[in-house]
């Protein structure tokens, strides 16, 4: 990744500070390993497909790798899928080893990696699932219609997750799902503009 730029948004700094303040050491390292494996999955796919990593950005929702090299929709879909697949593979391996060795930390890391991978497969814009949908929709429907279809899908996903999250809050299960749903809804809208203009979805 020579020549790649590194940056962190204020949201990422805040998220990092919160994790450092609130998580136990073993939880923090388990999470960092899971995130590292996920991003290495993306990185490996980027390099294997002949692309070049141009930037690594830490954002509120996690890490993001920027790349260039003219990957088509198929390539972009594979790159998007590679992270969750690497995470799922690591989750299985860590879970098996954790059970065999009786090492609870590995089981925790496996669970975190599983959760991270499954959330990232949701079809919403900032997530890998959203990138995957965007690439497949572009290939199937063309650029504009595909983008619009993905926005609607992302909006629906955010709404469902937010509704589920509100139900969980009412049952005393915490605000995590609602916060994630709200974040996904926020990212469903084109930056600085509304979703609908003149009666048409953008």
């Amino acid at each position: 990744m020579k020549g790649a730029s590194w940056s962190a948004s204020p949201g990422a700094v805040l998220a990092g500070a919160l994790l450092l303040a609130l998580l136990r050491g073993e939880e923090l390292t388990a999470l960092l390993i899971a995130v590292l494996v996920h991003e290495l999955g993306h990185g490996a796919a980027i390099l294997l497909l002949g692309q070049r990593v141009t930037g690594i950005r830490a954002e509120l929702g996690g890490l993001r790798l920027d790349y260039c090299g003219g990957a088509g929709p198929g390539g972009r879909a594979l790159i998007a899928l590679a992270g969750p697949l690497a995470g799922l593979f690591y989750a299985l391996l860590a879970a098996r080893l954790g059970r065999s060795w009786g090492w609870d930390w590995l089981c925790l890391s496996a669970g975190l990696s599983l959760l991270l991978s499954l959330i990232n497969l949701l079809p919403s814009r900032p997530l890998d699932g959203g990138q995957l949908c965007a690439a497949l929709a572009e290939a199937a429907l063309g650029s504009q219609r595909g983008e619009r279809a993905c926005r609607v899908l992302g909006l629906g996903t955010g709404c469902v997750l937010l509704a589920l999250g509100i139900a969980l809050i009412l049952r005393g299960k915490g605000a995590a799902a609602a916060l994630i749903g709200a974040n996904l809804l926020f990212h469903s809208f084109p930056e600085g503009e509304g979703l609908v203009k003149n009666g048409k979805v953008r």
């Binding site: 500070a17 609130l22 098996r96 609870d104 669970g111």
Partner: protein, 78 residues
């Protein structure tokens, strides 16, 4: 009142602020472990009660061998 320079805080100072902030956080955890633990418990209650334990259970469940695989491994067949 002191005003920020035009363009905000410079890159060098931002890095120093970041390092200082991280060190303060670590100091907070070391010097006030009880307060840190209570804050963690409160945050966990708001965000995801028993979240860490739940995720660890998922990890352990993922590592469990299915009965069929266990039977095959023992050579007793399905």
């Amino acid at each position: 009142m002191h005003r920020l320079p035009e363009g905000g805080i410079g890159v060098g100072n931002r890095k120093r602020l970041l390092v200082a902030g991280l060190l303060l956080l670590l100091l907070w955890r070391l010097l006030f472990p009880t307060a840190a633990r209570k804050l963690r418990e409160r945050a966990e209650a708001v965000f995801w009660p028993a979240g860490s334990e739940t995720v660890a259970v998922w990890g352990r469940a993922l590592g469990e061998e299915s009965p069929r695989v266990a039977a095959l491994r023992r050579g007793s067949g399905p």
